[in-house]
Amino acid sequence: MFEKRLYYHIDWAMLAAILALCTIGVIQIYSASGGAGRLHVTQIYGIALGLVALVICLSVDYRTLADKSHFLYLGIVALLVFVLFFGVVRGGSRRWIDLGPLNLQPSEFAKATLALVLAKFFGESRRGAIMRGDLVIAGAIAAVPLLIIARQPDLGTAVTLLPVVFAVAFVAGMPMRIFGILALVGLLGAPIAWKFALQDYQKERVQTFLDPEADARGAGYQQLQARITTGSGGLWGKGFQKGTQGQLRFLPVAHNDFIFSVLAEEHGFAGVMVTLGLYLFVILRALESARLAKDRLGAYLVVGVLASFTFQVIYNVTMAAGLAPVKGLTLPLMSYGGSSMIATLAGFGLILNVRMRRFTN
């Protein structure tokens, strides 16, 4: 199954960049937890498990995986439904399955699964351009897990499924005017959504984003603190474990959602540039893999997996700088969290899979 020559076609450079980001993440988790506790150790276990998932995902030919993707899809939907009823509640939402030593978050795996299903769906369509009907079907495929996840409620993760649909559809040749129409609908729909769909706490977050200092004690606190944390880092940062904002807990969940703020504080603009550079390298390299892919399926798969990753990176980094409303979105590869790490690395397993099999039949 695993031919030896494939080994030579693994994108080692991208893998190295990924591991570098994981390492930076572990270091910052260690720093943010004040050197005490075992969060960084847990994270290392997560990375190890993630690497196992990565190896598994690149071992099996992606075409085989795509063929069976509807089973994976059904499995994930079943798990999400299960979570909805039997999941572990933390922080007011039901997202996890208790597996003893670790909690599994199925929604994290929904992203890669959706990428697989959509890649298969668009890859198999023999028609030259994408019809509106295809979009409706693709939208329906994405909508099922999206709505279930939104019910948990975990709007942040649910939203990350949207880029998957749009990116795959875009690369698959969706006419630009449909994007235009969707954008228009979105624009017009926003006030309606504001009135009927958003919860009070969500409205508050948006309002806070628009004017964080007006509510510096309440909801704007985190956003303002994030900006202070990042800004006070300066050029070279305050040094490892010397950050005051993270160390003294002015920033909540510093090891998780705001890990990039802590990095920016302790290692400054220089650290930010290095890390952003690594992320950009990984993204460009993955898109390169899509271009090199042997078939449409491969290209779509890479883009699908990459879409939610990129979206999350950009959003989280913007939030870490205090430039976006605070949302429970983690920074892939760096934030603390086993499920996210395993799912992300598994996704990169798929991307590596496509690239290394570009010469096989």
Partner: protein, 637 residues
């Protein structure tokens, strides 16, 4: 073909995505550059404000000593409980919880917080001063539970005054600087400064320099470490001229006599104040840690006016003690000699009105010495009439009775001895010579403070040399006691020898002859003095006011010095509603006895502290009741 075209399309769109990614990341990079490099300093400052606090460390005020080095006022440690709103999310919750935990009235706490709402949020709002240990324990326990992270308990030095409110009006009290004081620039907001007495007069010496501590706190407001500490500098140690033993003797004297009043005694050679009494008084300790509303309200509404510093602020009619001014003026102006005699038949007529003497049958023929001894009204009516009011005023000023004594304590009232000019200015009317007659026995519009009477008798004791009374003796600037040079002698007028002899003889006879001051006689000490009575209300008014609760009994005066030759102690006893001037004499006697016992190393005399017996009914020659009601004005202000 379709496949190739499709490949190309996919390729183009992927390149589009790559470009988009580069653009987005470049934008992010620029954002970080703006936030971290361009605005970095601003956020660095904000981060520092987040985790660094500067806490004030209150400096202990300087310790006050008496002239013998005995500690009078010192400091103790007390706890204050305050709220720091900087990271408070729900101030109402904090207020409610704090009130519950510390057992306070929630409404009052809210009022305090509201009053300080406009101040910067890092400045603590002091809610409880001098908290009990139970309160401190309750708060500390809650803080540990992270329930009240915005409540702070601090140990601060607080003033400790002697027991029994001793010399309260002399020391004064401290309090938070008022808004007016802050605006005037004399104090910083929240500073504890002297508000009355020595505390106020020498605030700059006593206040010291507050220190500061810069600490690192976490997001819960808990202190993690100290960055820098500037220790507070204690205020200067100040030595007062007061003698603790004499002060106690004087206060014991009043307590034993059973009336309120005032006393000021000094060393006539230097003006050093030895005792300073104003009764009733308040407990300055109540002010030390912020006075509570009810105590403040009751002090302010008390009919006996415990907050009034009677020595400097009470103005009363001097009564017969004023005759010394008339005597001095007449002798020094050369109008009469001590052997000048007047026949007192029990009254005399001036400007068509009959003025009575207090002795019905009259004193017969009296000279200056005997007129002073017997306090003969007719003799002084005659002298006053010869002098005119302006000469009386001039000599009252020379003796230190008119105007201010210049004592180094705040809020001294001016003593008033009328003159034609004064009346013209005040009422626009000219002076009628008839008014001079009542002025010559200290009635009419004469209104003086106990301090100014003390100053007058001291000048007479000194034979004309005026000294400025003062309460500060030495200051320790850090290199041991450094004496504070007394203020320059105000005025130096040497009396003619025969004036001096006549005055001193007459005053000696008041105490040691057949006068009214016999109760101050001490064998071998040659006490000289003069009594006086200040009418509170005219006889006619007395009849009208019958049945009211107001205390309308007359005030008694006793001014004295001892020994007659080369006096070492002089002063005034003011007996509020004491009815008779001679009732103040025993207090003076007790203090003088204590003074000499101390000087000679003998055991100090003790008064049996029984409630004072009601005064036996004696004929009081100072009683102004003999005056025609129409010319007697109510002297008490």
């Amino acid at each position: 073909m379709a496949v190739a075209e499709e490949r190309r399309r996919i390729g183009t769109r992927l390149v589009t995505l790559q470009v988009a990614a580069i653009v987005v990341f470049a934008t992010l990079g620029i954002c970080f550059w703006v936030i971290q490099i361009i605005q970095g300093t601003k956020y660095e400052e904000m981060a520092e404000n987040n985790h660094q606090r500067t806490l004030a460390l209150r400096a202990p005020r300087g310790v006050l000593f008496d002239r013998n080095g005995k500690v009078l006022v010192e400091n103790r440690n007390s706890f204050t409980i305050s709220i720091v709103r900087e990271h408070t999310k729900d101030l109402n919750r904090t207020v409610t919880l704090l009130a519950k935990v510390a057992g306070l009235d929630e409404k009052q706490v809210k009022q305090i917080v509201d009053r300080h709402r406009g101040e910067p949020s890092y400045r603590p709002i002091v809610v409880v001063e001098d908290a009990s240990l139970a309160q401190v324990a309750a708060i500390t326990a809650r803080r540990l539970d992270f329930e009240l992270p915005d409540v702070r308990v601090e140990e601060v030095p607080t003033r400790k005054y002697p027991a029994d409110a001793m010399a309260a009006h002399l020391f004064g009290y401290v309090g938070e600087a008022s808004d007016a004081q802050v605006e005037a620039g004399s104090a910083e907001q929240g500073a504890i400064i002297g508000q009355q007495g020595v505390e106020r007069a020498y605030n700059n010496l006593l206040m010291g320099q507050d220190g500061a501590k810069r600490v690192v706190v976490n997001s819960m407001g808990r202190e993690i470490s100290t960055l820098e500490e500037i220790a507070p500098t204690e205020g200067r140690r100040v030595q007062l001229t007061i003698d603790g033993d004499l002060q106690k003797a004087a206060e014991d004297g009043f307590r034993h006599a059973g009336f309120n009043g005032a006393a000021l005694m000094m060393d006539p050679r230097t003006g050093e104040v030895l005792t300073y009494v104003s009764l009733p008084s308040y407990d300055p300790n109540d002010f030390a840690a912020g006075i509570d509303r009810t105590t403040w309200a009751s002090l302010n509404t008390d009919k006996l006016k415990p907050l009034q510093n009677r020595v400097l602020q009470g103005r009363y009619s001097p009564g017969s003690t004023f005759k010394l001014v008339v005597a001095t003026a007449a002798l020094e102006e050369g109008l009469v000699t001590p052997s000048y005699t007047v026949n007192c038949p029990g009254g005399a007529t001036f400007y068509g009105r009959y003025y009575k003497c207090h002795l019905k049958g009259g004193h017969g023929v009296v000279d200056m010495r005997h007129a002073i001894e017997k306090s003969c009204n007719v003799y002084f009516y005659t002298l006053g009439n010869m002098l005119g009011v302006d000469k009386i005023h001039k000599w009252a000023e020379r003796l230190g009775l008119a105007g201010k004594t210049g004592i180094d304590l705040p809020n001294e009232q001016e003593s008033i001895v009328p003159s034609t000019e004064w009346k013209q200015k005040r009422t626009g009317e000219r002076w009628y010579p008839g008014e001079t007659i009542s002025v010559s026995i200290g009635q009419g519009q004469v209104s003086v403070t106990p301090a100014s009477l003390a100053e007058m008798i001291t000048t007479i004791a000194n034979g004309g040399t005026r000294v400025t009374p003062h309460v500060i003796k030495a200051v320790d600037e850090g290199q041991g006691w450094k004496p504070v040079p007394p203020r320059a002698t105000a005025d130096r007028v040497a009396f003619r020898p025969d004036t001096l002899a006549a005055l001193h003889d007459g005053l000696w006879m008041v105490v040691n002859g057949n006068g009214t001051g016999g109760r101050a006689r001490i064998d071998g000490r040659d006490v000289a003095g003069k009594t006086g009575t200040a009418q509170v209300i005219s006889n006619e008014g007395k009849a009208r006011a019958k049945g009211t609760t107001a205390d309308l009994r007359d005030h008694g005066w006793f001014i004295f010095f001892a020994p007659r030759d080369n006096p070492e102690i002089s002063g005034v006893i003011f007996a509020e509603h004491g009815e008779h001037g001679f009732l103040g004499a025993p207090i003076a006697k007790h203090v003088i006895e204590t003074y000499f016992a101390k000087k000679e190393g003998k055991p100090l005399p003790q008064l049996p502290l029984l409630p004072g017996q009601a005064a036996p009914h004696e004929q009081d020659p100072d009683s102004p009741g003999v005056l025609d009601d129409s010319v007697v004005t109510v002297a008490l202000r």
